[in-house]
């Protein structure tokens, strides 16, 4: 009790000139789920969670919806804007059309990270290293392997999404990729922990590692950016926004499989519709009809569970927590929805109700819905060419399907052990307008290559260059060296066209990434060091031994060679045994007891006289033997 009094007293005594800054109610949280069936029985689900915090609260470390763990990392490393991506699989552009969110919320296979960090180059490098190490711990990913060899500073490919105060020109953009990283459940758990509703309510309750990482394509993104009313507004007017995005393309039949019996088996014969037009159709032969129409599915079946009510933090009135992009004629049954709304285009919007399970059921429908997939801005692919362990080539194909020319930024971040020959860089059917190139330094930094390319209308541009493969040091090889080394995907930014076409709505720049590549490097035999030791030893033994012996040996005639002590001993032993054997046989044939073999004492004087060496002792020994026999 005394302490309490003291504290109150002191708090009264303490003078505060600062008036109580009322917490501005711009701490907001909203979440949204966008669903769209894709061609080839796939479903695109896009989860978006946005939380904001005033910069004043952020600086004072008072966190409400903004995750404390991430915020402290950003503060510690002076990171003003962060983009982190975890991606897996491939988005099938040919069938599914353009990429979700114009590719702005996805990364290359594995982990990709870019951030604007305050500070001069050395300082920024140090903070970047702190950042990747801390994020590595937070997201249970091997981000700590993003070292200087995997870090580049792109010039044209990325632009800040947030509003940065105009005065602070000290921010630096750093970018790193880990194509080898396998994204899995352990990355999703911390991701969910950062959400205010933690996957226990709201649309995040659908997120489950089993389904998410079973998808044909998935991408998790964390984006932190400052948002200000204008570029020259005061710092306390700004808010910091965190957007967490999960985007995926699920195969509907695959994800609706029985969870306890996941092995694909043919369905029972009764459930198969047979094609009667086939001649071999009979009571025991069935030719299944190809499935037509739209597959029936529901949220609970695809994701394994329904949505567990609303996350009651967002603005309750905003109808449209969930939007479902299906044609107007598609039947949709919603369960547990607070309100629903259908737009003329067929887009359905639902809002969630607290503590009520929500599900959307789309029954099987035979009318084929016209899938209106839009053309992506560009098709890009990249391959490695050549053979052998010394050299290779890179070949990228960029196809513009549109009837207008496009300008792109092509970014390559190559590991140092892949050494491009820049003089071989050539482009066909297009032209390079600008080029940024930072050559690699062995074990210090990788190659950074940025090209601004103009691609003519309806044409394909081919980009080629040759490279050399470096030989690594023995310890630099990973345990699975023969698998090859991952080369990060190329990032392609399609610049917005100058002539903005209102019908296209294509004003924002779009991103796409090629697949990552596997680079086979010359791999040594890893038992080599021991082989070297053995070989060296043999050579030394042969060379040194023979020369040394030649120098110190005395050369004599063969018959002059003194017997080695060992040999004489062995001979002596042999003779003793022979003598013993002979004696016993003699005993057996001749029963007459012979005299005592006295001469054992005979030789002694000789031995005592000059028995100084083994040789002479031997002579005596043989003499003795002869004496015995005699």
């Amino acid at each position: 009790m005394k302490l309490r009094d003291l504290l109150q007293l002191s708090s009264v005594l303490a003078l505060f000139t600062l008036s109580h800054a009322s917490s501005i109610p711009n701490q907001e949280y909203s979440e949204h789920l966008y669903l769209k069936p894709l061609a080839n029985d796939h479903l695109h689900a896009d989860f978006n969670f946005t939380a904001t915090t005033p910069v004043a609260d952020y600086d004072a470390q008072h966190f409400r919806y903004f995750p404390r763990s991430l915020a402290q990392i950003l503060q510690y490393t002076h990171t003003t804007e962060l983009h982190l991506r975890f991606a897996l699989g491939r988005w099938d552009e040919e069938q599914w059309g353009s990429r979700p969110r114009n590719g702005r919320r996805e990364g290359g296979t594995g982990v990709e990270l870019w951030a604007w960090i305050e500070g001069q180059s050395e300082e920024a490098d140090e903070r970047w290293s702190d950042l990747v190490n801390s994020l590595s711990g937070l997201f249970c990913a091997s981000l700590n392997f993003v070292d200087s060899t995997k870090t580049i500073r792109p010039v044209l490919s990325f632009e800040p999404e947030g509003t940065h105060p105009s005065g602070s020109g000290g921010s630096q953009l750093l970018h790193g990729m880990l194509p080898h990283e396998v994204v899995c459940t352990e990355n999703l758990t911390p991701f969910l922990k950062m959400l205010p509703c933690k996957g226990k309510a709201g649309i995040s309750s659908l997120l489950d590692g089993h389904k998410l990482f079973d998808a044909s394509w998935q991408s998790m993104a964390v984006d932190v950016r400052p948002v200000c009313p204008s570029t020259n507004s005061r710092k306390d007017e700004c808010v910091l926004e965190i957007q967490q995005t999960v985007s995926m393309a699920l195969s509907i039949p695959r994800s609706m499989r029985d969870r306890h019996n996941p092995i694909p088996r043919p369905p029972p014969i009764e459930e198969i519709e047979c094609d009667d037009s086939k001649v071999w159709n009979g009571h025991d032969t069935c030719y299944p009809k190809p499935s037509t129409g739209d597959l029936g599915w529901s949220l609970a079946k695809v994701f394994g569970r329904p949505i567990k009510g609303a996350c009651p933090l967002g603005d309750a009135d905003g109808a449209g927590d969930i939007s479902l992009d299906v044609p107007l004629e598609r039947t949709v049954e919603a369960q547990g929805s607070a309100s629903s709304e259908t737009e003329p285009s067929g887009l359905r919007k639902f809002s969630l109700q607290a503590a009520t399970d929500f599900d959307v059921v789309l029954p099987r429908q035979d009318t084929v819905s016209s899938s209106s997939s839009t053309h992506p801005p560009l098709y890009a692919s990249r391959q490695m060419t050549g053979y052998g362990q010394e050299r290779g080539g890179m070949h990228a194909t960029l196809r513009n399907p549109h009837p207008y020319p496009q300008k792109i930024v092509y970014l390559e971040s190559l590991p140092w052990y892949l050494k491009p020959y820049m003089h071989t860089l050539e482009i066909q059917h297009g032209n390079i307008e600008k080029m940024f190139y930072t050559p690699a330094l062995d074990r210090v930094r990788g190659t950074h290559l940025e090209l601004v390319i103009e691609i003519p209308a309806d044409s394909t541009v081919e980009l080629n260059y040759d490279f050399e493969k470096a030989i690594l040091r023995y310890t630099e090889y990973p345990p699975d060296a023969n698998r090859g080394f991952d080369v990060a995907p190329a990032v392609i930014r399609v610049l917005p066209r100058n002539v903005s076409d209102p019908a296209d709505g294509n004003n924002q720049d779009e991103y796409l990434r090629t697949t990552s590549l596997l680079l086979p490097l010359p791999t040594p035999d890893f038992s080599m060091p021991y082989n070297v030791i053995i070989l060296t030893s043999t050579v030394i033994a042969l060379g040194f031994g023979s020369i040394f012996n030649m120098l110190i040996r005395k050369f004599v005639l063969l018959e002059e060679v003194p017997a080695s002590p060992l040999k004489t001993k062995v001979t002596m032993l042999k003779e003793k045994i022979a003598a013993l054997l002979g004696k016993t046989s003699k005993k057996g044939s001749d029963t007459k007891p012979s005299e005592e073999p006295g001469p054992a004492a005979v030789i002694d004087p000789n031995a005592a006289l000059n028995g100084s060496t083994d040789g002479s002792a031997l002579t005596n020994g043989s003499a003795k033997l002869r004496n015995v026999k005699g």
């Binding site: 504290l7 470390q61 763990s69 510690y76 801390s134 205010p196 607290a354 005395k554 002979g582």
Partner: protein, 540 residues
Amino acid sequence: MAEPLQGTVIDKDATPASEKADAVSVAPPESPGSVWTRRIIILAFWAVVATLGLPHWIWTTSIYRAELPAEQMTRWSEGHACDLKYPIHVALETGSLPLDQLKAIAEKTENTLNLDNGQSLFSFQISALDDHHNATHERALTASMQQQSTSKAPSANLLSMTPTLELTHGPMDSIGTDNLVAFLVNELQQIFKDEQASITYLLRHSPFHAASKGFNLGTEATKAIEKRTTRAFKYSSTYHVTFSLFAASASPSAWDIEEALRQYIKPLLRQLSTVSDFQIDTQVQLFASFSPSIAGPQYDEATNSYKLLQSDLSGFINAAEWPLSPSIGSGPTLNMVLYIPGPGQTPLLLETGGNSWTIPQWGGVQILNPSEKQAGRLTTSDLEPVMLTFADQLISLLGVPNSPPSLAMRIASLKRERATSLILSASSTLGALNRLTRKLESIAIPPSVATSVDETISHLEQACSNLREGRYQLAFENARTAEAEAEKAFFEPSMVGQVYFPDEHKVAVYVPLLGPMAVPMIMSALKELKSFRQAKVKTS
């Protein structure tokens, strides 16, 4: 039957041994010149090994071992380097008594206090405060004496925010100097008794225990101190304090934490800022579920409430799901958790009563059962009792002693305790480092370790002398630096990360490489040595 021997072998420099050597051909004896040539060759090879090979091998395989002041390190680790003494400066001030009388009282009090326990840790230095007193030492306590005309028995009152003892007494003629001195002695002893006990406890099992022999520590006191010290965090120059609001459901999702902290927590931390720095952060976490390892609240019909079992308190924090990761940066994190039970589990009480508990060296937990109007947002007034409990928990987690009643003196006492324990810790780290470097011959000692050790020792010496002079703030700061340097030396990464180069590896590399060379060289050397000795024996 054995065949007769074809030929007998004769040693090259032995004379024919038997008459039966007729069939044996003997190599001609060597000329002394060729014998000497051979010897020189062998000698030359050995010379190359000894002058080139061996130094080269030593040079390439040796590791840098900086010179450490082993003797000084041992002295510190064995407690001979510093004789810990704690002089306590007390100033008497008065408005009513003449200076002479005050000085007399001071002298008498000092004599009595230091007579009682002459060899104890604490020695009192009582001085009368005059206008031109020297401010070289820190004053532990100011006794402000006020004469009153009516009061008979003297009484004392310790101020909470400043180290001041307000003493009121009757007129000097009625009370008498001796009585006043006795009263003062008693008061001072009472005030410093607990601190003396805890420092004695600290030193008891350390190499510095010689200094604490004079004080007898009772079992009761030991237990109390043990309880307090095991609860407290290890000292650090920076602490992170995380205030977390965990709600079992979606509300309340907001609290006026900034204002509440400003009113109830920051004044306390400002007082403690001479000891450590504090960095505060707060967070709100919703949908916090209990960990599956605990039984969970049990419904109690008698009180119409939910009871949390005593056994569940240690596992109450759901470490797997609650984001309570330590803050970034050096220093430990103190977690202050406020838990709001869900609507289905209110009111939630503890089985033993109360609504808060401390988790030693981790933080404090409190349960708040919200009323209807608190459902959405916790206001500052809602948070007042919560924050006061947090303040109490914070104090006990930081190891601030429970007595005397003055907060200022408790913090001063904490400073002395921390300085002592830092000196002890730095000394024992020095000892450990010394033992480690002596035991592991193959460990490298980079020069930075030597510098750190030198720094440690110089700061320890300064801390020791500051302590003996009664400058506790300086002593504390020096001890803090010494401890940090000692830890830096001990945990030097290039020393800790010793390359794993096992002996088997050495055998596998050296034997095949050196064996084929060493064997002929050694054999020839031995043989030649033998023949040389024989020749010598023969000639002599």
